[in-house]
C-alpha cells in the first residue's frame, strides 16, 4: 500500500508540472456548453410577417392569436410577428431574414362567417424538412387557439396533458448533462494521456518495461489519478450547471460520481491503448478525444436516449456513455432514482472491467516489448 501511495504521489507531482492538462476536459466542454446554450437557449420563435388584406375582423384576431400561443420549448410564442411593409416583407423572405409570410385574403372574414371554405396562404421556409415540419404543425397550434378564440363549435376531441413535474425540464439542461459526462470522459482521457506522455518523453517507459515488478504498480496510480481528475472536471461542470440552470443532484451526487467514474475508467483505458498502438501518445489522445466527441453526439449527448431509442445507432450501444447519460439526467435534472440503476451499474462495471483487463494486458505487453 505504501508503494502505491508513493507512486501515486509521484504521478501527482508529474501532473503538477503540467496543470494545463486539466483544461483538456474543461475548455472544449465549456465552448460546447456555451455554443449550445446560445443555439437553443435563447428565444426560438419563428420570425414571420403577416399581410392582412382581410376586410373583416377575423384577420386581426388571427394576428393577435400568434402572440398568445406559447411553445413549451422556451415559453415564448411559436411565432414572432414582425411589422414591415409588403415589399420589404417579400424581400426579407427571399433572403431568409424571416421564416415565413402568412397572407390573409380580403374575403377571409366573409368566408369564415358564411362557412364558405376560408383560406390562408402560408409561405414558409423548407430548406430543411425539420423546419418545414415545424411550420406545418405550429400552424395547427395557431388555428386551434384561433378557433377557440372566435368561439367556433368545440372540437370533437379536446386536448389535455400531464407532465410528471411541476416545471418542465428544458432542452439545454438535457444537453448540459451530456456535456457533464463528456467533461468526465475528456478529463480522464487528457490526464491519463499527460501522465503516460510524460513517461514517454522522459524515456521512463524503458524503465517500466524492464521493471522486475508487476506493471500494475505503474498503471493503477495513473488510472486512479486520471479518474479522479475526470470526476473533478465533471463536478466543476455540475457546479456550473447549478449556478446557471439551477439543477443539482443533492444526495444523489455519489451515484452520479459512480456512474460517471465507471464511464471514465473505460475511456481512460481506451486512451492508454490507442496511445500505445499509435506509438505516439499525442495521436492516441487526439483519436480518443475526437472519438469521445463523436460518442457524445451519437450517444445521447443532445437528447434522451430512452425517449429516442429508435434513433440510437448500434455503434453508440458499444460505449458506456449511451447507458449512463439518462441515469445522470434522472439524478440531476429530475431528482429521481432511476428504475434501472442496478442493471445499468452492472453494464457499466462490465464495460470498465473489460476495458481495464483488456487495456492493462495490452499495455503491459506493449511496454514490456517496446519499453
Amino acid at each position: 500500500m505504501r508503494r502505491l501511495w508513493i507512486l501515486f504521489k509521484t504521478e501527482f507531482k508529474v501532473w503538477k508540472h503540467d496543470p494545463i492538462t486539466a483544461m483538456g476536459g474543461i475548455i472544449p466542454c465549456l465552448f460546447i456548453l456555451i455554443a449550445f446554450a446560445l443555439l437553443f437557449g435563447g428565444r426560438l420563435s419563428f420570425p414571420i410577417a403577416v399581410i392582412n388584406n382581410d376586410q373583416g375582423q377575423y384577420g386581426q384576431i388571427l394576428i393577435d392569436t400568434f402572440d398568445e400561443v406559447i411553445s413549451p420549448l422556451d415559453n415564448q410564442p411559436y411565432y414572432s410577428v414582425l411589422t414591415m411593409d409588403e415589399d420589404e416583407t417579400w424581400q426579407a423572405f427571399q433572403e431568409y431574414r424571416i421564416e415565413g409570410i402568412w397572407v390573409i385574403p380580403e374575403d377571409f372574414s366573409e368566408r369564415l362567417g358564411a362557412a364558405d371554405e376560408p383560406t390562408i396562404d402560408m409561405h414558409f421556409m423548407n430548406y430543411n424538412d425539420d423546419r418545414a415540419k415545424n411550420h406545418r404543425i405550429y400552424s395547427a397550434e395557431i388555428l386551434w387557439a384561433f378557433y377557440h378564440k372566435i368561439g367556433i363549435d368545440g372540437p370533437p376531441l379536446g386536448r389535455a396533458e400531464e407532465y410528471p413535474l411541476s416545471e418542465m425540464v428544458d432542452w439545454v439542461s438535457i444537453i448540459s448533462i451530456g456535456i457533464v459526462l463528456l467533461a468526465v470522459t475528456l478529463g480522464g482521457i487528457f490526464n491519463m494521456f499527460i501522465l503516460t506522455y510524460k513517461a514517454q518523453i522522459g524515456k521512463i517507459t524503458l524503465e517500466m518495461g524492464l521493471s522486475p515488478r508487476s506493471l500494475a504498480w505503474v498503471l493503477v496510480p495513473k488510472t486512479i489519478l486520471a479518474t479522479l481528475f475526470g470526476l473533478i472536471t465533471g463536478t466543476l461542470f455540475l457546479v456550473i450547471i447549478r449556478v446557471w440552470l439551477g439543477f443539482w443532484p443533492g444526495a444523489y451526487i455519489g451515484a452520479v460520481w459512480l456512474l460517471a467514474g465507471l464511464v471514465a475508467l473505460f475511456w481512460i483505458q481506451v486512451a492508454l491503448v490507442f496511445g500505445l498502438i499509435a506509438r505516439n501518445y499525442m495521436a492516441g489522445a487526439i483519436g480518443s478525444v475526437l472519438g469521445a466527441m463523436i460518442i457524445f453526439f451519437i450517444g445521447g449527448g443532445l437528447s434522451m436516449v430512452r425517449a429516442h431509442q429508435d434513433a440510437v445507432t448500434w455503434i453508440a450501444w458499444l460505449f458506456p456513455n449511451t447507458y449512463a447519460v439518462d441515469l445522470i439526467r434522472d439524478l440531476v435534472l429530475f431528482n429521481t432514482w432511476p428504475m434501472d440503476f442496478n442493471s445499468v451499474i452492472l453494464k457499466l462495471t462490465g464495460f470498465a472491467v473489460f476495458a481495464i483487463l483488456g487495456g492493462s494486458l495490452f499495455s503491459v505487453r506493449k511496454l514490456r516489448k517496446l519499453g
Binding site: D130, A132, D170, M282
Partner: protein, 354 residues
C-alpha cells in the same frame, strides 16, 4: 519559386512524422457526419397511442396518420399500446374529462423540446378531426414552400460540416506540427534558416490549405453519396472555403507558436473548430435562431462561408443579404491573421532573445 517548391515539398514530407494525426484530422468530420446522418432528426416521430376501443379513438388514429407533408414524409408514426403508462416517453389516451371526450397526452421524464414536438403533432391530428367536422367552415391553409420540395436535414447538416472539415484539418495539423517543432528542437533550423520567413510561412500555409481542401472534398463526396445532393459547382465551394481555411491555418500556427506544446495547441484547435461549427450556423442558418445568436454567429467566419455555399446546394437560392460586407469581413479576418502569424513568428522564432 524553386526554393518555395522545395519548402513546400519538405512541408508535405512532415506527414510522415504524424500520419495518425493527419488521418484523424482529415477523416474525423466525415466519420462524424456519417454517424450523425444515421441519427439525424427526422420529421417522422413515433407516438404511442392507446389501442382504440371507441369510435373517437379510431378517428384520432386515422387523423394521426394524415398528419404530414404533402411534399415529404408523414409526421406521426402511431405505435399502438395497451398500457396507459407514459413509460420513458409518452402515451395518448382518449378519456372523458368533465363529460368531454379528450385526447390526454401523458409525458414521462422528457424535455421541453420533445414535449413541444409531441404536443404539436397531437394538436395537428386533433385539428384534422376538427376541420373534418367543420366541413366548409374549416380554414384551409394553402402551403407555399420556399423550395419545390422539403430538403432532408442531412443535406444542410453535411453542407455546414464542410467548413468544419476544412477548419479542423488546417487548425489541428497546423498547431500540432508547429508545436512539434518546438518539442523536438527542430525549431532551431527555422531560426537559422537564411530564407525569408514569409516564404516559409507561405509554404506552411499552402500545405495546410491543400490538406484541408482534401478533407473538405472527402466530406463533400460523402455528403453526395449519402443524400444524393451535389452542389452545382465543386470549384465554387472550394473557392468559398479558402478564406476559412486560411483563417484556420493561421489560428493553428499561432496556437503552436504561442503554446510550444502539442497538447494545449491541439486543445485550442479543437475548441475553436467545434465552437465555430456550432456557433457558425452548423445546425441551421443563423437567421433561424435567436437574435443574440444571430449577432454572434455572424461574427464567426463559418456563417458567411455557409451562406455563400448555400445557393450551390439549394437551387440557386441566396440567403446572404450583404455579400459585399461578408467578403470584406472575411478579407479582414484573413489579412489580420496573416499579419499576426508573421508578427508572432518573428517574436517567437526569429527573435534574438530566444
Amino acid at each position: 519559386m524553386k526554393r518555395y517548391i522545395l519548402l513546400l515539398r519538405s512541408e508535405f514530407k512532415l506527414f510522415l512524422t504524424a500520419p495518425v494525426v493527419h488521418l484523424i484530422a482529415i477523416v474525423q468530420p466525415t466519420l462524424m457526419y456519417v454517424l450523425m446522418s444515421i441519427i439525424m432528426v427526422v420529421p417522422t416521430f413515433e407516438m404511442r397511442l392507446m389501442n382504440p376501443t371507441t369510435k373517437q379513438g379510431e378517428n384520432l388514429l386515422a387523423a394521426a396518420e394524415q398528419v404530414g407533408s404533402p411534399i415529404g414524409p408523414d409526421y406521426i408514426e402511431p405505435v399502438l399500446v395497451e398500457d396507459a403508462s407514459p413509460g420513458h416517453r409518452q402515451v395518448v389516451q382518449v378519456v372523458e374529462i368533465d363529460g368531454t371526450p379528450t385526447a390526454l397526452q401523458r409525458y414521462g421524464y422528457i424535455d421541453s423540446n420533445l414535449v413541444k414536438n409531441l404536443r404539436n403533432r397531437l394538436t395537428a391530428a386533433l385539428m384534422v378531426l376538427w376541420n373534418n367536422e367543420l366541413g366548409s367552415q374549416g380554414i384551409l391553409i394553402q402551403e407555399h414552400p420556399w423550395l419545390p420540395q422539403d430538403i432532408p436535414y442531412t443535406v444542410y447538416f453535411g453542407m455546414a460540416m464542410i467548413p468544419l472539415a476544412g477548419y479542423l484539418a488546417a487548425a489541428m495539423i497546423g498547431s500540432y506540427l508547429m508545436a512539434q517543432e518546438f518539442e523536438n528542437g527542430t525549431i532551431l533550423s527555422y531560426k537559422l534558416c537564411p530564407t525569408s520567413f514569409r516564404l516559409i510561412l507561405a509554404a506552411k500555409i499552402t500545405r495546410l490549405v491543400v490538406t484541408s481542401l482534401a478533407a473538405a472534398i472527402i466530406l463533400y463526396i460523402t455528403l453526395g453519396l449519402i443524400t444524393g445532393v451535389w452542389s452545382t459547382s465543386l470549384i465554387a465551394i472550394l473557392v468559398i472555403l479558402l478564406p476559412l481555411i486560411l483563417i484556420a491555418s493561421c489560428i493553428g500556427l499561432i496556437a503552436g507558436m504561442l503554446t510550444r506544446s502539442a497538447l494545449p495547441s491541439f486543445l485550442i484547435a479543437l475548441a475553436s473548430a467545434f465552437a465555430f461549427w456550432l456557433l457558425g450556423s452548423g445546425f441551421g442558418l443563423a437567421a433561424g435562431f435567436s437574435p443574440l445568436f444571430e449577432i454572434i454567429s455572424r461574427l464567426i467566419p463559418n456563417t458567411p462561408v455557409i451562406e455563400m455555399m448555400f445557393p450551390y446546394f439549394y437551387f440557386g437560392k441566396k440567403v446572404a443579404a450583404q455579400p459585399l460586407l461578408v467578403n470584406l469581413q472575411l478579407t479582414a479576418y484573413v489579412l489580420g491573421l496573416l499579419i499576426a502569424v508573421g508578427f508572432i513568428y518573428k517574436k517567437r522564432i526569429l527573435s534574438k532573445e530566444r
